[in-house]
Symmetry: C2
Subunit: 380 residues, 2 copies
């Protein structure tokens, strides 16, 4: 992949809404393009659509080879024919989030006020709710009045929560997985490390790196490495790497590299080939700003008054980024307003990233929940 291939001119499938969108920050994006993919077939009643929401660095290529990276879709384990999210039965939609770099309007899009330039760091601050309002446009575009389900992990789980709160009549079921209802001080702190690493890269050029023909790859790689540590559990790192060396046996020698270091460096360097630094800044900020309780007088239950989706909450026991306590608090708040809620903590040593990995109990749980909802909704 050439240096500027990521986030540029790939012909992603998309739809443009020229009427634009008003953002939570008070600014207006005069035109919004949404890049998306679909899998399966929408039934005639348009009642079998599932929206899958991606996480911070995900994209719309859920269940097929990613055309930019050449790698499998990020949730092929979960979404596809016969899978828990069965594309033989459901019509699955996934769109790149607002602020992203895979075809949806983001910092790389043309600046509304400075012709001939991209937004860069001038891109308006966006929120999780803004992302969801843009997804709603896409769903409306398909003529779908009510989604069968909105499913997402991590930041995707925040979106599922936002859907249930903003558009309570537009979904049957909501499945926030490894989710959080607010970003904690520690969550914000880890994001801030990543942002500072990007700012510290001389190639950042105050966000205007495109016009300089460079990219802040080293800073973005450090950001990714930092985030990656938070996605895996201490146990998983120990199991996979322990104190093993990269190219040697036995005791740590001098000048040798530990396998975990090599692994992190690989995570960093492969990431910068597919992701844009300004999008990373915009999306991490959107997550930091998410606070469903704060928006409702500090009482989370108040956020859910009026929400009448059926909820499945899933957390993972070794997730220390969005720990079980977050999902438990959401379950409690939903119960408080008499919502229909199931909550499962999956025992796993894989940390936050468990939602992306082979976790049979989790997959069976989601499959069962969707089957129950399908029966409830009269989908056969």
């Amino acid at each position: 992949m050439d240096q500027n291939a990521a986030c540029t001119d790939f012909p992603h499938q998309s739809v443009t809404f020229p009427e634009g969108v008003a953002l939570d920050c008070g600014r207006v994006l005069p035109s919004v393009t949404v890049a998306y993919r679909t899998y399966g077939r929408l039934n005639d009643e348009k009642t079998n659509a599932i929206l899958v929401c991606h996480a911070l660095t995900g994209d719309q290529y859920v269940a097929e080879r990613n055309p930019e990276t050449g790698r499998p879709g990020w949730w092929e384990l979960m979404v596809g024919p016969g899978k828990a999210v069965d594309t033989d039965k459901y019509f699955v939609i996934c769109s790149n989030v607002l602020g992203g770099c895979m075809g949806t309007t983001g910092p790389r899009a043309p600046h509304a006020e400075k012709p001939g330039r991209p937004w860069g760091t001038d891109f308006p601050v966006v929120t999780i709710h803004d992302m969801v309002r843009v997804q709603k446009r896409l769903v409306d575009h398909f003529g779908i009045g009510k989604l069968f389900a909105v499913i997402g992990g991590s930041m995707g789980g925040m979106q599922a929560l936002s859907w249930a709160v903003q558009f309570p009549d537009s979904l049957v079921a909501a499945v926030p997985i490894a989710a959080a209802y607010y970003h904690s001080a520690q969550n914000i702190a880890f994001h801030e490390i990543g942002r500072q690493a990007i700012y510290a890269d001389q190639a950042f050029h105050n966000g205007d790196y495109w016009s300089e023909g460079v990219r802040p790859e080293r800073g973005l790689a450090v950001a990714r490495m930092t985030a990656h540590i938070t996605y895996v559990s201490e146990e998983a790192l120990t199991r996979k790497f322990g104190r093993k060396l990269q190219n040697a046996e036995g005791l740590p020698a001098f000048g040798e590299q530990f396998a975990v270091e090599s692994y992190l460096q690989y995570q960093g360097s492969s990431f910068v080939q597919r992701f844009d630094a300004n999008s990373y800044l915009a999306i991490t900020r959107a997550m930091d700003l998410f606070d469903l309780a704060g928006e409702h007088g500090g009482v989370l239950a108040n956020a859910f008054r009026g929400a009448h989706a059926r909820f499945l909450l899933v957390s993972f026991s070794s997730d220390w980024l969005f720990p079980t306590a977050q999902s438990r608090a959401i379950a409690r708040a939903l119960s408080h307003v008499a919502a229909n809620v199931s909550f499962v903590e999956v025992q796993s040593d894989k940390g936050h990233d468990a939602f992306l990995l082979e976790e049979p109990d989790f997959h069976a749980t989601l499959r069962g929940f969707l089957a129950g909802c399908a029966e409830y909704a009269g989908l056969s």
Copy 2:
């Protein structure tokens, strides 16, 4: 402080051992200078000396104003007249570690093979055991045959363990606090983030920044910010900052900064005024290489055969960097070889840094332990 004040020409109190020291890596440092401070009075029998070992970014200024930063000594809460480590009773020694930047030989010292240049990244890889062997020279220099105690937190605790293993006849008591007997994959991963941030700083110049008249301040600041997150607990960050904004009230606004971000940035920017990047690289590596079990066939108890110090192990309940499980494993291994060991887990929400902070139970525990050891050793 001017740009190059840190780690340069301050006249730290020191002693030089021109015979040098052989290192674990197989190389020899031809001459070693050790910068140190002492507090209290060495008794005539030379039996009342306590060596305090500092952590990664600490220094020899334990119990007095630091002359470079103008800030209080890093452990004035613990060490001083009438304090738990009572300088009216004990003679306290603290030296800057090998590889450090406060007067002891480190990357800033003259290169042994390239006259007129500092070592920079050519500085030999050093280990915790090497640091301790250099401390032993200093103790010998004072004519002290047997230390009353070796006390240290975090990396200082690794040194206390190394003392007990390397020089079992040279100390009465060992107090490893918030310590670890090996650096885990996650510990190494966090250090590696810091190192990569330093490498990514254009001002690093492959470690030769001094000759360029610059310093990799931004990279080093990111390294410090990353490490700092690991020193505090999630609870402490929530208690201190939550989602508060730095300069505003109410809900997070756009363009506002969260207080935790401002705090982290301050931690980063103040650190680079007092610490040297090459020392940071050298000392983090020494910690990564520490593995008392690995060195002894994977059996930690084997490390302690022959150790006959009286041990006090202290951990803090919310420390997720060197969690209680580490201290518990050390206690178990010591018990296995019938060593004299006390182990206290202090309930605290302050995380790893609790050992530096006001923790009355911890201070009382250490005071009581030392009193018992003094009675045992016939110190009145």
